[in-house]
Each structure stands twice: as structure tokens, then as C-alpha cells.
Symmetry: C2
Subunit: 302 residues, 2 copies
């Protein structure tokens, strides 16, 4: 079944201890949609400026991503510039140019309103709520957020969390939102807000999947020696996760399906960080994912 | 088969966000020996002062630990005082009183010299080397170390690493020793020094087991909501690991045995942190360990 993502589309410039790249394709909706395109039909909703290279639109389309919801506005595309030190789990933002993204008002094309799987990437929670109002009861909705919204739009974020099925967030952010340092305690706080499933992304320590019913799953990260650029890893994770869920297409998937979805998310994040931008994700095929999954199973087996 | 540990025996005072305790039993050899006593016959070599409460000696003996190698010297027992903030992975040392431990010269009782499994807990690498000279070719030797020795006794540590089978170390320490931030890269540096197996302890992110032959195993930590005191977790891990290896007693264990040993180490560390000092470890039995192992298997299965 098909999947809809609403989020940012950006032009990134990144520096890591392993090199630097200027003006590469980026943004949460981009990483998510490329990553999920290996599993299902994906539709992207976002905005770019008139300076957005048409080759990038073609590139998304070549991955089978439907760009009908990609709006082109007069002005410049969202720019992000960041740097990472040896701790690749934390980015230092050097520059943010919101540009056309500043007044982004997601418009869901009519034919996409009845889409069953929806990912609300990290944008203003008021906009995430707006998207939810404009779609017809999707089967599964997941959302991401970040410290900026936790600090500045907490009420809207809490309203949102009453309406989504899965909250995908990183460890520092869930600690900030909950005021709890223990991750299980932090997840319990989130459950009290109304969400039933939480995924906590922990960078190179892996990801936790926790449910309000007491389900606990810990998928360690895939061990790798060469990591070039962690940008987009979280959204690539979410793309693999939601892409797999959408492909399974069960109306009420058992926990085992969510666990496998977390593992596919882990695989996609591991490819993402192997090269700058979405470079590696664009160079692999489905068999590479299955091959890595076999490696991963060997890595965690006991 | 039986197991020998040489390390510190201490009286600890600890404060964490969840409480504080003064003058509790501590030290690397203590945590290691209590933890490994669930799996095998353990022998402890260390030194205490004349102020050491005899009830603690009895307590070790009640766990079946042979204390023939426990030397009592005129003076005070090693004291350590530390505090943890909400990041329970890092202790702040408030006070260290080496006392009789300052001139500790490990003496291996004659009947223990031919012991097949040996753990050299974190002490001066020159003393770890001395112990190795005084035993008769054990089947498996593992050692720990710390930043102090990496910074001040690097040559001795490197000599030691040529002679041990397994190096058990935490993530910050292996990064310091290797100059590599990537953990696989860091392990490869250690392999170049002559060790063939490395375990990297990552606190609440779990443990990695890596071999010079390319073996890679990632055991995530057991997820827990209530953690009271992380003191001794690393040595409890090592105790479970070596204790299991010693119980299996294979002359050349396959990687699967080492992996299961890492998992038992993970279980023992998870019990350790549930209460102050070795309190929780002293209150469990073998069936609690097996029950937690079943929980753990459910937690990582996909």
C-alpha cells in the first residue's frame, strides 16, 4: 500500500571529519522517501524554491517517488549547513536559511488524501496537525519532532501526540520532552500523552521500540567501520520502518511486524551514513538491503 | 573449571540521583568474583586492611568464593568515593584513598597457580604482568584497564596486551588508547598490539565482542526502568563473561560460546545496577539469571 511523507526538502552543505560536500540534496522528506521507496509506493509533500535543481526532482521520480505534492514556490530552497566532530551523533548547525520553507503550508493533493500510511516528518507540530485534518483517517500515522518544537510549540506537539500511532524521536529529545533520563521512564511519559508506540533513536547505539502494553525491543545499530556523514540517518530509519509496515499492509500488525520494521529502518540508516547526502541510498538495490540484513542477523545472533 | 581474579577490594561510598550509601563493599575483584560465583569456582586475590569488616569476608565465602588469596595488611582498606549524575555512564570520583592497595603486590597461592581461567582486573599493568609471570600458562586470560594506566603506563599496558587473550574495556577508554573514535577501528588497533579478542563495554548501550578474525557481535543492554547505582557493572559483566567461559570449559571455544558468555555478562551487569553496591547480586540465584535471560531473548528477538 502507499505511503505519504510531509516534511522538508533542502539543499545541505555538510562537513564531517571524513570530508565535506556543498549543496547536496537533503531534507527529512527526501531521506524518508528515498529510503521507503525500496519497500512501497511513496508520495512526497514539500516545498522547494525556483532554484531547486530539476535533476533532483528527476532523481526522486527515478526512485518511483510521486512528486505531485512537491510544490515549487518563487524564492530559494531551504538551506542547511552543518558540521560533525568525531562524535557523529551530534550535528552542529552552522547556518539555517528557511527561505520558501518558512511559510510552508502543506497541501495534500486530493488523490493522496486517502493514503493509508502517513509520516509527519519533523516540521512545526501545528502543520503536522493541519496535515492530519486534511487526510482521511490513515491506518498508521507516525511523526517525528525536535528540541525546537519541544521548547517552543509544546502544546501543539502534545495535541499532535494524542492523534498519532507512533512517535519516532531521538534519545536526547525524548529526555527533554519527558524530563526523564531513563528511556523506559521517558517512553512511559509519552504513553501518558496518548501515543501507544514509541521508537527511540540512539544513533550508533541502535533503536528501541516500546509499546504502552509493555512491549520492549532493542535493535542495536549495524556495526560499521566507515561512516562518512550521519545526516539523514534518522529519516532514513523512519523511511525503512514505515516502508516495511506499508508493504506488509496489515490492518493491525502484531509486534513482530513492528520489530522487523525497526530492523529494516536500522538497515536503511546504516546505508545512509556510508556516504555524504543520500549518495549511498541512491546506489543500492533491494538485494543489498537483504544482504545487509543477513549480516546483521549474524551480528546479533547468540 | 576454576577461575582466578586479581584486583581491588574496596570500601565504597556512592551517591546517585536515587540515593546514597556509605562504606559498602566494593572493588573490581569483589564485583567480579560475586558475579562469576554463579557459574564456577572462583578464587580472589587482593589486599585489605585490618579495618576490613570480617562480615564481608564471610559474605564472599558464603558465595563459595575462595579467599585464600585475600591478604590482610596492617593499615586501612582501599576507599573510593564517587557520585553519578543523571548520566549514569560516567562516575565522578570524589575521593580515592589507596591505603594498603598502594603497595599491593599480588601473591598467588601455590595451589592457584595452575588455574585455567584468569581475569586481571583493573590494576597497574606492571602488576598484571607480574601475575602472568607467576601463573602456569592459563587457558584463557582476560584483562581490564583504565584511562589512568593508558596515560601513565602505556608501555607496560602494551606489553600486557601481547600476552592476554581478551581485552575488556569501555568505549571511552578504547578510544583514548587507540586514538580512533570508530569502535571497530579502535578494536583493529588493539588487534595490532597482539590481542585477538576485544570486548567493548558501552554502558546502557550494551557490549561489543570483536575478534581479529572479523567476528562482530553486538549485545544490547538489558532495558531497565530502575537503575540505582552503576558502580561495579563492568566488573560484574566481566564476571558473568569469564564465569560462563570457565563453566563451558572448552579448550578452544567457538565464537558462539563467547557470544553466550557476553550475554551472561550483560545479565550480571543488569542485576548489579539494580541496587547499591553488590546488594542485588547477593540477593539473586541462578534461576533469576535464567529468567532474565529469557526476558532478554524476547527483548532482542525479531
Amino acid at each position: 500500500m502507499s505511503l505519504l511523507v510531509v516534511g522538508s526538502i533542502a539543499i545541505d552543505s555538510v562537513e564531517t571529519p571524513f570530508g565535506k560536500r556543498a549543496e547536496v540534496l537533503g531534507g527529512s522528506a527526501v531521506y524518508f522517501s528515498i529510503s521507503s521507496s525500496f519497500f512501497t509506493d511513496v508520495n512526497i509533500v514539500g516545498v522547494v524554491g525556483t532554484d531547486f535543481p530539476v535533476k533532483y526532482i528527476r532523481l526522486l521520480q527515478q526512485k518511483g517517488i510521486n512528486t505531485d505534492g512537491l510544490e515549487i514556490q518563487q524564492g530559494k530552497t531551504f538551506r542547511w549547513k552543518g558540521a560533525y566532530g568525531h562524535d557523529l551523533n551530534n550535528a552542529n548547525t552552522l547556518f539555517t536559511g528557511l527561505n520558501v520553507f518558512k511559510n510552508f503550508l502543506p497541501k495534500i493533493p486530493r488523490e493522496l488524501k486517502k493514503i493509508p500510511y502517513l509520516f509527519l516528518a519533523n516540521i512545526d507540530p501545528n502543520l503536522q496537525l493541519l496535515v492530519l485534518k486534511n487526510v482521511y483517517s490513515p491506518r498508521i500515522v507516525a511523526c517525528d519532532s525536535m528540541n525546537f518544537w519541544i521548547q517552543n510549540e509544546l502544546k501543539a506537539l502534545k495535541r499532535l501526540l494524542k492523534k498519532v500511532d507512533i512517535f519516532i524521536i531521538n534519545d536526547a529529545e525524548i529526555r527533554l520532552l519527558s524530563g526523564e533520563s531513563n528511556l523506559i521512564g521517558a517512553a512511559k511519559y509519552i504513553f501518558s500523552l496518548g501515543v501507544k508506540k514509541v521508537i527511540i533513536k540512539r544513533g550508533d547505539s541502535g533503536a528501541l521500540f516500546l509499546t504502552s502494553g509493555g512491549g520492549r525491543f532493542y535493535a542495536p545499530a549495524y556495526l560499521m567501520e566507515k561512516i562518512k556523514d550521519p545526516t539523514g540517518a534518522g529519516d532514513s530509519f523512519a523511511g525503512g520502518f514505515m516502508g516495511y509496515l506499508s508493504r506488509v499492509n496489515s490492518s493491525n500488525p502484531p509486534e513482530a511486524v513492528f520489530r522487523r520494521a525497526v530492523v529494516y529502518g536500522t538497515m536503511m540508516a546504516s546505508f545512509c551514513v556510508q556516504d555524504f547526502g543520500p549518495g549511498k541510498l541512491l546506489g543500492i538495490d533491494r538485494s543489498d538491503i537483504e544482504k545487509r540484513l543477513s549480516d546483521y542477523k549474524r551480528m546479533v545472533r547468540f
